[in-house]
């Protein structure tokens, strides 16, 4: 067991730093929005989805409709469909850990599980479970730390919520560089900005998402043929 844990720990060190940092940022922003570390603990334990949790903060105390919240959740997490596909067979053999493995399949856990070569003297199931649960523990610890830190901080934290904007700008750039087809990203910018102008800041998200999904389906042939040309 200790050997499994040690192996998993070493593999997860890069995620440790990333999750602690982002977790602290999440806990801090949540605390600033008026929700203390206990909220951070429960949200990070039961939702466990980075980008989604940052957006969640902006929903709390807002008048956003549940339809918008649900559509936003489904859209932000739409990439999860692919993560699961790679592990349908493997997870099924994992018995009691099966539901947890599905629940905890974040971007980072997914990429670690895909990229890890399991040494012969270790059991794959146990390594997988150790990686997934270690990653979540970093995230929960970071979130709670951030919440506690928020209570103690003595300097002026006005503007710290820009961390969320910065996070999404970084993800946007990463995705832009990773793909040669920029139509989906441009459709998102276009629909987002137009909806914002037409419907105003408090009501634009639903029309933005719906028009984006509509345009993406409309341009499907175009986008897919470009994707094939890329390969």
């Amino acid at each position: 067991m200790t050997k499994t844990l040690r192996f998993a720990f070493i593999k997860t060190i890069p995620v440790l730093f990333g999750y602690l940092f982002l977790g602290i940022a999440f806990g801090l922003l949540l605390q600033r929005a008026g929700y203390n570390f206990i909220w951070a603990f429960f949200i990070s334990t039961f939702v466990f989805a980075g980008s989604m949790q940052f957006v969640l903060i902006s929903f709390l105390g807002s008048s956003m409709s549940f339809v918008s919240i649900i559509l936003m959740t489904l859209s932000i997490n739409s990439r999860h469909i692919f993560y699961g596909l790679s592990f349908i067979e493997k997870f099924k053999h994992m018995g009691k850990a099966y539901p947890y493995m599905i629940f905890s399949l974040t971007d980072e856990t997914y990429s670690l599980l895909c990229g890890t070569q399991i040494p012969e003297d270790l059991q794959e199931d146990k390594v997988f479970f150790a990686i997934a649960s270690l990653n979540q523990s970093y995230w929960v610890i970071g979130s709670v730390l951030g919440g506690l830190l928020g209570e103690m901080i003595f300097f002026n934290t006005t503007g710290i919520d820009f961390a969320m904007t910065a996070l999404f700008v970084v993800i946007f750039i990463e995705q832009w560089l990773a793909s040669k087809i920029h139509i989906p990203a441009l459709i998102g910018v276009f629909c987002g900005v137009i909806s914002l102008i037409v419907f105003g800041p408090n009501r634009f998200i639903l029309p933005a998402l719906i028009s984006t999904i509509g345009l993406i389906i409309l341009f499907r042939k175009n986008i897919q043929s470009r994707e094939e040309a890329q390969i």
């Binding site: 989805a49 739409s78 469909i81 970084v170």
Partner: protein, 108 residues
């Protein structure tokens, strides 16, 4: 009332996030591929959604006064420039956020 609504929001997001994760396991077996349209959306939608989220974060920016858009504009440029240069997530987010905080606290 707000407390109950907040708890409801968290439970809703927890459930629907889990739903997206459980979807491929619940619906597809070994040799079954999901319908082409679902695979297509799963592949293409994330890029659009991130773009919408950037707009969502900047939704309160307006152009009637300089101080209502300049800090955001400069800080986004810093994040983007730094990220294109170093490709280090924590560095881009950290420095971008600190410069935004300094700008709105001392400059604007």
């Amino acid at each position: 009332m707000n407390f109950i609504r907040d708890i409801g929001i968290i439970i809703t997001i927890a459930c629907f996030t889990f739903l997206t994760r459980v979807f491929p396991f619940a619906v597809f077996g070994r040799h079954q591929q999901p319908p082409a349209i679902i695979r297509y959306l799963g592949k293409v939608l994330p890029a659009s959604v991130i773009a919408i989220l950037v707009v969502y974060c900047l939704k309160h920016v307006h152009f009637t006064t300089i101080s209502a858009f300049a800090p955001e504009f400069v800080a986004v440029c810093i994040v983007a420039g730094l990220h294109l240069w170093k490709r280090n997530n924590l560095l881009s987010i950290g420095i971008g956020t600190v410069s935004y905080m300094l700008m709105i606290q001392y400059l604007f």
